[in-house]
């Protein structure tokens, strides 16, 4: 297709502004980027209404397959299909190469940081990171001090959120080191897309991601306790009321392992067993999708019924591996985040490949003063929250909301950070048979066992509401399949 004549595409565009924000599909002048041309041609060749028809058939498939998530805080209709967009998001081989190297470097450093903090804490002694920042973190677990974890791997499963800025460069917005979710949507999206656009998919040469469950299983197996050659690996879920329950069942089925709840587990003599119809069976590796707080009522929150009493002692005794380790939330604290580039330099003696977003620490007097004076321009986040909760988006906030946040910041500055309101990239989405740009991020999934493994892809999350900057599924976000090109 001639880049100068995107004319036949014009009827496809709805309200499609091109401004300083990076558009994934179109260059500032309006022409389609080279990698998107085949997609654009396909779209232009489809008869009117065809996209809508395909979308409806996918909707129905999602519903009957029960690919749904649960929304908290709503009385009825708590089960909803995960909103998605039919058009793939394309990432070139060069772009992916940089992401892959950058994430490998970052996760390696974060893991070294966790190991260090929970053993000798050299990085604190060397004053690279302030002591009080680490020890005041809500997710720091003193019980982990001096505890040897298998292969020194604290974070076996990670999902990091990337944004693309106006320059086209990817930056890391946050790391999810506790129980990152969404990988089942990445895999489901791919299956749906192969069925919806088979020819287009074949034409592009997209790198496969379908082996993720096998990689995850191999990662978990590599972390099994010594002397357990045929480890019994299980996935621990909070249960059917958890918003990610679909994902837990999906992964357990794909890996062929048992999906257990806390009430299925018992410990005896520091060994974890699960209750089966044949009696008790020993458990060797637990892929944990329950937060630290709820994992063991004897060590963490005593009012939790989701975990297993005695689990932590069995873990400390080395009789069971729990992944991710406890206390990893320390390293995805949004204030600790600001120090990740310094960690990379400290542990690896390298320059960070993927930059951070500029971050103001509100515990620093100077930075707090600046932030409080500029609340209407900044995004303020609570450090321990995720899922888009506990957030103030300055430019879209009311005076009342800003005053409320200012009060909270003054009361507990350590609990907040601020970042500039980012103009991150937009990708075309299908809105009533036309294309309109929506903000997107990218969450690749990183596995860390013998070595760091990243399946080429990830979940592209979309802020489906027009103009919205929030991509979290709990706040009306959707997703797209992400195609990493050969």
């Amino acid at each position: 297709m001639n880049a100068g004549h995107p004319v036949e595409l014009e009827p496809l565009y709805g309200d499609y502004p091109l401004d300083q924000a990076f558009d994934e599909m179109r260059q500032p002048g309006g022409e389609v980027r080279p990698q998107y041309r085949a997609l654009a041609e396909t779209l232009a060749s489809l008869p009117a209404g065809e996209l809508q028809r395909r979308k409806q058939s996918v909707d129905l498939a999602f519903l009957t397959q029960g690919i749904t998530f649960t929304v908290y805080g709503r009385e009825e209709g708590t089960e909803r299909i995960f909103p998605y967009d039919l058009l793939p998001r394309l990432i070139t081989a060069q772009e992916w190469d940089r992401i892959e190297r950058g994430l490998t470097q970052r996760i390696t450093a974060l893991n070294l940081f966790l190991r260090d903090v929970y053993s000798d804490a050299k990085i604190l002694a060397d004053r690279i990171i302030p002591r009080e920042l680490v020890y005041s973190c809500r997710h720091y677990r003193r019980q982990m001090r001096g505890l040897q974890v298998p292969r020194n791997v604290y974070i076996a499963v990670v999902g990091s959120d990337l944004l693309r800025l106006n320059s086209g460069e990817f930056v890391v917005l946050e790391d999810n080191l506790r129980v990152p979710s969404g990988v089942s949507y990445m895999l489901t999206n791919r299956r749906v897309m192969k069925r919806t656009f088979p020819q287009l998919f074949a034409r592009y040469g997209v790198r496969p991601i379908e082996h993720y469950p096998q990689l995850l299983l191999a990662t978990l197996r590599s972390l099994a306790p010594e002397g357990r050659p045929e480890p019994n690996i299980v996935l621990l879920t909070p249960g059917v009321f958890n918003s990610a329950y679909f994902e837990h069942t999906y992964l357990a089925r794909q890996m062929g392992i048992d999906l257990v709840e806390g009430r299925d587990l018992v410990t005896h003599d520091n060994i974890v067993y699960m209750r089966t119809t044949d009696g008790l069976k020993r458990v060797d590796v637990i892929y944990r999708r329950v937060d630290d707080d709820f994992s063991d009522p004897l060590v963490f929150r005593s009012d939790s019924a989701l975990g297993c009493a005695g689990l932590f002692n069995a873990y400390r005794a080395g009789n069971v591996t729990v992944s991710n380790a406890f206390g990893t939330g320390l390293a995805d604290d949004k204030a600790v985040y600001a120090y990740v580039p310094r960690m990379i330099r400290y542990y690896l003696n390298e320059d960070p490949i993927l930059p951070n977003v500029e971050t103001f620490l509100l515990s620093e007097n100077k930075e707090r003063k600046y932030v409080l004076a500029n609340l209407d321009k900044l995004v303020v986040k609570a450090v321990g929250e995720s899922g888009g909760y506990g957030m103030l988006i300055g430019p879209r906030s009311t005076t009342l909301q800003r005053e409320e946040f200012a009060r909270q910041i003054e009361a507990n500055p350590r609990n907040y950070i601020a970042q500039p309101t980012l103009d991150f990239s937009r990708a075309p989405c299908l809105v009533d048979d036309r294309l309109e740009p929506r903000h997107v991020d990218l969450r690749p999934y990183i596995l860390f066992g013998d070595k760091v493994n990243i399946v080429p892809g990830g979940l592209t999350r979309v802020a489906l509401e027009k103009g919205s900057l929030v991509v979290n599924s709990s706040q009306g976000g959707g997703s797209k399949d992400t195609w990493i090109l050969e």
Binding site: G66, R253, L259, H268, T277, G279
Partner: protein, 320 residues
């Protein structure tokens, strides 16, 4: 297999069997009401409710449409069809990784069909269609189960739940009906008694099967013999008891490091009783008591299943 998973599969299966039984009884009762010409509506409704185990809040209010709607759609009543379907799906959802995707989709589709707003609002206009939707959905689910799921422990627990529920339901139904099968005097030779008898057989999908064995000559003795003692008909109590025995044997074969002695004894006792009692002995004695005793044994078997597979003490299992 995890105890909790076995428990969920067992209940998923029981709930579906219960929904199927309720729908069929409702269908038969409603068609009998047509012929009764308006009389005895209440008696028939109460009899059906008794055969369903006398659930609360199902007292006759004079309108069959309203009562049927309640029995199908009152999601607060544990006796309703929708309650059973919700329960089955909820149990299936909790063991999503154990059942096949085909099974899940089948059940999910039925669930969504029942939850369509128009399904409820237009119920009274399409009662027959709606009831067939449920029965068809459940049949398809059972077929999918048998063809797409590995015939291991999970499958055996599904069978165990199905046969236990069915044996109990058939025994309850016969216990309620048995007194009416033998009217004290020759009440009538008109077609009404015939309709009642056919209705009873149809409540167990047994009419055609009965005719194949005994011809269309409907005699209460033979009907009881067929529904209680027949070995080959899937809704007969004896068949169900043998089904339970096979399921427990199957469970033991695929895992079975602990032999479930007490459970096997209880099921074996029921099978022996049904295998070595003749219909004349049953009719000569306390027929209602005999059927009641079967229900009691079913409840006992249920308890043993729980005690052995689900709620066992840790001490008893540590040696494994």
């Amino acid at each position: 297999m995890l105890s909790r998973v076995a428990d969920s599969l067992y209940w998923m299966s029981r709930y579906l069997e219960r929904a199927e039984n309720t729908v069929r009884l409702l269908d038969v009762t409603m068609s009998l009401m047509l012929d009764a010409g308006g009389s005895n509506l209440e008696m028939r409704w109460q009899r059906m409710v008794a055969a369903l185990g006398k659930p609360a809040e199902m007292d006759w209010n004079g309108s069959i449409e309203e009562m049927a709607q309640k029995l199908v759609y009152d999601h607060l009543s544990p006796a309703s069809v929708i309650y059973c379907l919700n329960g089955a799906r909820e149990n299936a959802r909790q063991v999503r990784e154990e059942i096949s995707t085909e099974m899940w989709q089948r059940l999910n589709r039925l669930y969504h069909q029942m939850h369509l707003p128009r399904a409820q609002s237009q119920f009274s206009a399409n009662i027959g269609d709606q009831l067939s939707t449920v029965i068809d959905g459940i049949y398809l689910f059972k077929g999918t189960t048998d063809t797409s799921m590995i015939h291991g422990q999970g499958w055996q627990f599904i069978r165990l739940g199905r046969y236990l529920e069915r044996a109990y339901a058939t025994a309850t139904l016969l216990e309620v009906y048995q007194s009416e099968l033998f009217p004290p005097q020759e009440r009538e030779s008109s077609g009404y008694l015939h309709l009642e008898l056919v209705g009873l057989l149809r409540s167990c999908t047994a009419f055609e099967a009965y005719c194949q064995v005994y011809t269309a000559d409907l005699s209460p003795e033979r009907m009881l013999e067929f529904l209680v003692l027949n070995r080959d008909f899937p809704h007969a109590i004896h068949y169900c008891a043998e089904g339970m025995r096979q399921a427990v044997d199957g469970i033991q074969q695929t895992g079975g490091r602990r032999p479930p002695e007490e459970l096997k004894a209880a099921i074996g006792k029921l099978c022996a009783m049904l295998g070595y009692t003749s219909i004349n002995e049953i009719l000569a004695g306390d027929t209602a008591g005999f059927l009641h005793n079967i229900r009691g044994q079913c409840l006992h078997i249920h308890e043993l299943i729980y005690r052995f597979y689900v709620h066992y003490s840790i001490q008893s299992a540590l040696t494994v």
